[in-house]
Symmetry: C2
Amino acid sequence: MSELILSNFAMHIDLSPEEKMRIVSRLQHRKIGKRNFLLRQGEIDRNIYFVNWGCLRMFYTDQDGSEHNICFYPENWWACDNVSFFKETPAVNNIQALEETEVYSLSLSNLELLFTEVPKLERFFRILVQNGFDLYQNRIIANLSKTAEERYVEFRRLYSGLESRIAQKHIATYLGITPAFLSMMRKKKGL
Amino acid sequence: MSELILSNFAMHIDLSPEEKMRIVSRLQHRKIGKRNFLLRQGEIDRNIYFVNWGCLRMFYTDQDGSEHNICFYPENWWACDNVSFFKETPAVNNIQALEETEVYSLSLSNLELLFTEVPKLERFFRILVQNGFDLYQNRIIANLSKTAEERYVEFRRLYSGLESRIAQKHIATYLGITPAFLSMMRKKKGL
DNA sequence: CGTCTATTTGAATGTACTCAAAAGCGGTGG
DNA sequence: CCACCGCTTTTGAGTACATTCAAATAGACG
């Protein structure tokens, strides 16, 4: 039942059967119904989540009450508000399930225990943070230099297959455009 | 001569005089002339830089050859292409001096040695990475939800006093607008 | 002082937004 | 299983934000 997360670890580090067992024994396991929250603005993010199936989103709510999607997390992605989780400070973002979703989670204290038990994991999570950094940086570059249409194409490439699973209004706020404009763009391009 | 960098460390960790000495002894010291590069697209970023005085910028060059400023680093900031530095992979970005600049630098191997000598530094650099994450996340949110004018105001707040030191075209590409539009905006608002 | 680059200005254009209305779709209860 | 309600998507007209291009002006630097 935890094949996916183990194969995810295997992308960056080799684990012995014993190490795998140690890790699995520390994992919490949980299902979240559609539209339910794993984290709300103002709370401290106490867990890092691995999505086994389903899909999460992280979003920010501005002064006007408009939501802006920062990131999607379909199966095989790791979700958390990095800053809140590692610094143990109130999150500015929300994390919500877009579908019925199953996650494995690790609290910060369990993660730190695991780091002493399986030191290789330090490397894994460092890479994870770096990849997150990379993703954010690419996003900034895309927002600075690309049109909405190019960003849309990039979204489809990054989250291949996800488009048909989530509402267009969510894709629109991820791209930084209005749902109306996304709809028009799709029609024009026959996408 | 290294007061600024020591006060920078002191923002997050307390160091004994001995620890300070160990750190200072590992620092490289260097001056870079205006318009010179510390890192070019495709190279591996071998150092993390602390700006003692002067100003650096990190920018990305797209297919058309247009430059997009990702970040500025005036005095008391740490500059590096995080992903390239920690993963030792070719950088997609450039780092260049906008003014005659003095930096202290640490190679990855020296940094790792320092981590064993002064373990507190692990905490410091973890916070540094988290702050970088935070900055990037705010930038994404700003790009998704704010107008050019609001982003401009945010830039002036974040980099207080920097505006008068650097070319407007650099501010424009940081904001994701054209120099012409920035000029018009400034005039209209009497900013 | 001259050259080169940066900034300003203006007109025409394009990209994306707002608002409002209509159509589509999904879930829920009878 | 159908009908209805609420939310999402589509469509269109009018508008605002930001761009391009070009020319004029101002600044920086050798």
